[in-house]
Amino acid sequence: MNTVKITINNREYEVPSNYTILDACRAAQIDVPTLCFLKDINETGACRMCVVEVEGTRNLQASCVTPVRNGMVVKTNTTRVINSQKTTLELLLANHNIECLVCNRNGQCELQDLAERFQLKDIYFENYKKREPIYDDASVSIVRDTSKCVLCGRCVSVCKKQAGMSVLTFIDRGFETHVGPAFDEKMEYAGCIYCGQCINVCPVDALKEKPHIELVWEAINDPKKHVVFQTAPAVRAAIAEEFGKEIGTGATGKMVAAIKRLGVNKVFDTNFAADLTIMEEGFELIDRLQNGGKLPMFTSCSPGWIRIIEQYYPEFIPNLSTCKSPHQMFGAIIKSYYAKKMNIDPKDIFVVSVMPCSCKKSEMHRPEMAVNGNRDVDAVLTTREVAKMIKQAGIDFNNLPDEDFDHPLGEYSGAGVIFGATGGVMEAALRTVADVLSNQDLKEIDYNVVRGTEGIKEAELDIAGHKIRVAVAHGGANAKKLMDMIKSGEKEYHFVEIMGCNGGCVNGGGQPYVNAKTRNSGLDHRKLRAQVLYNEDKSKTVRKSHLNKDVMKLYDEFLGKPNSHLAHELLHTHYHQREIFPTQEN
């Protein structure tokens, strides 16, 4: 690789020639502050926090987007630079709703970090807010608060480039500028898929998930309620980050122990339901393959993906698996099978799903997600929210002993665990489908071809003499790309897994914040978290859903067989087209 010599603060460094000044500074262990910059996603040089002095140029340069040159002389900490950064920060704060002590992001805010770093003595500029802030909490999933927004544009860019939706945009001009959906429409009608990537990249609290914490505390404190928690696979792969651990630290046992200490009645693993999903979905696929059903069949675990199909590709609704997503299935089973077994009135059971996802909050409200008038799930906490509750309760997470999930619905296979990573549902399904079709207990069960973070993965597999073409996509942008190819007939598949979030659930819109500095360092949090799940899969003795003993027992005692009448009633659902920006036709 070509390198150039660059002088930073009077010391010379040799760096690759494709570096920006910011890259070079960070390689030299100098942390130039940034705010709007997100590598590969938002490279606009707009916020001016990262300015540096470059010899020979009149103005300060935005280091995040200025490439290095051989012989460049850079200064990062002159009075001029620091005064400029302070002024920028003051101007940002002058327009910011400074209620840090009662803010959702208190302690996890990139703007707060900058304020702490620069130790401003005062904010000299008069608070100039020409436009009344918009607080949109009408959506059941995402809350938008323009009073906190710093107009960095990270959400707009991630929505366009990664989510592929372009739901958020800059609106108006000058002092009126704000970020929101077209016409400042409520998120619910604006074509949003609730993937929550905008929340994940927001440096402040301008976007957040609809909070359910109070609801859950209330249930826990209600003696009449039997509170059952279930945790999704991806949660265990990230929750430790909330307690200061490195990205990629698994914490299944501590997570269970912590939740138990919140005072809940039972903690189950959504993985159990993931195995159940594979039974239902796997047999649905076999049925479609053998009986001329609608192909390709699409997975239906990701509610973000469901919203993509319902809003953008409604003609493919018949291709969706009719399976509810795992946590909804689990809710239905808890309020039927488990309730009966434990002799509890389903009305007294309060099911809380701990999810890496912002969209699950909307999914639980779908009218279809209920049986006999009982909602499958009563509250959805994001990984961030459950961590908040654990902190509120004063539980010393890091020093907890590892504890096990409760029974009888706590058992899970390795196949269930990998649901949390892109390609995981596909791989889990293939393990079962291959065994069923070949009537064997196959040993080759690692489908590496569907693993990893490549945007669209495809493969043609030979399963017991059947050629099965599969594809996996994750993140709305990739999903749309794949769907457009399927729609045009350019590609044909039998089975397609799509997840609404880039990287799958490990990078869901409810996962711990990964700040810009970490994201820009080149560290791939999606991969590190996914590795936790693949490691757990490897460590399990049972790695196939159909071999999960509790699942087998559930069929024996209750459901009969996969896709039975009762299974359909409890575990399957249907979808409908959703109009974006509904207007009255004239």
Partner: protein
């Protein structure tokens, strides 16, 4: 409020424009100019239509529409009044002219009269500084105005149907 005509004919006109000009390098602006011209504004229905035709999101269009002051999402009055508040006009008293328009019409800037006849806007420099202060009504330009001339000018447009 002024009326908005979302007739099939108008959508057909827009479709024609798009068909005639469609190319990789068309960009959104010419389509928005056409839509603004045809419909008098670019409301949600029209933005949805353009979004579908150009395979972009409504937000992508809305962001552009709200950025440029010549595009609007709500119908403007039959007569669009633009009072120049550029430096040259301002120093020659255009604020007083604007205030007089407000008073005579009983509306504020960026508003439309009840009967839908007039929309009042403040514009940036029109480059007709030699005539400062300048007011435009539709395509007519009025220069070297004094506030007392305002009622007379308005009367001219009141009469027209």
């Amino acid at each position: 409020m002024a009326k908005l005509d979302l007739s099939k004919e108008n959508f057909a006109k827009l479709q024609n424009f798009i068909d005639e000009n469609r190319s990789e390098t068309m960009g959104l602006m010419p389509v928005l100019h056409a839509a603004q011209e045809i419909f008098g504004c670019i409301p949600l229905e029209v933005q949805k239509y353009i979004a579908k035709e150009l395979s972009i999101s409504v937000a992508d269009i809305y962001g552009v529409v709200t950025f440029y002051s010549r595009f609007s999402t709500e119908p403007v009055g039959d007569n669009l009044i633009g009072v120049c508040l550029g430096t040259a006009c301002y120093v020659k008293g255009s604020q007083a002219i604007l205030d007089r328009f407000k008073k005579e019409l009983g509306i504020d800037v960026e508003q439309t009269t009840e009967d839908g006849k007039f929309t009042l806007t403040a514009t940036r420099c029109l480059g007709a500084c030699g005539l400062a202060p300048v007011v435009t009504i539709n395509n007519d330009v009025y220069g070297k105005l004094v506030p007392n001339e305002v009622p007379k000018i308005l009367a001219k447009y009141q009469k027209e149907e």
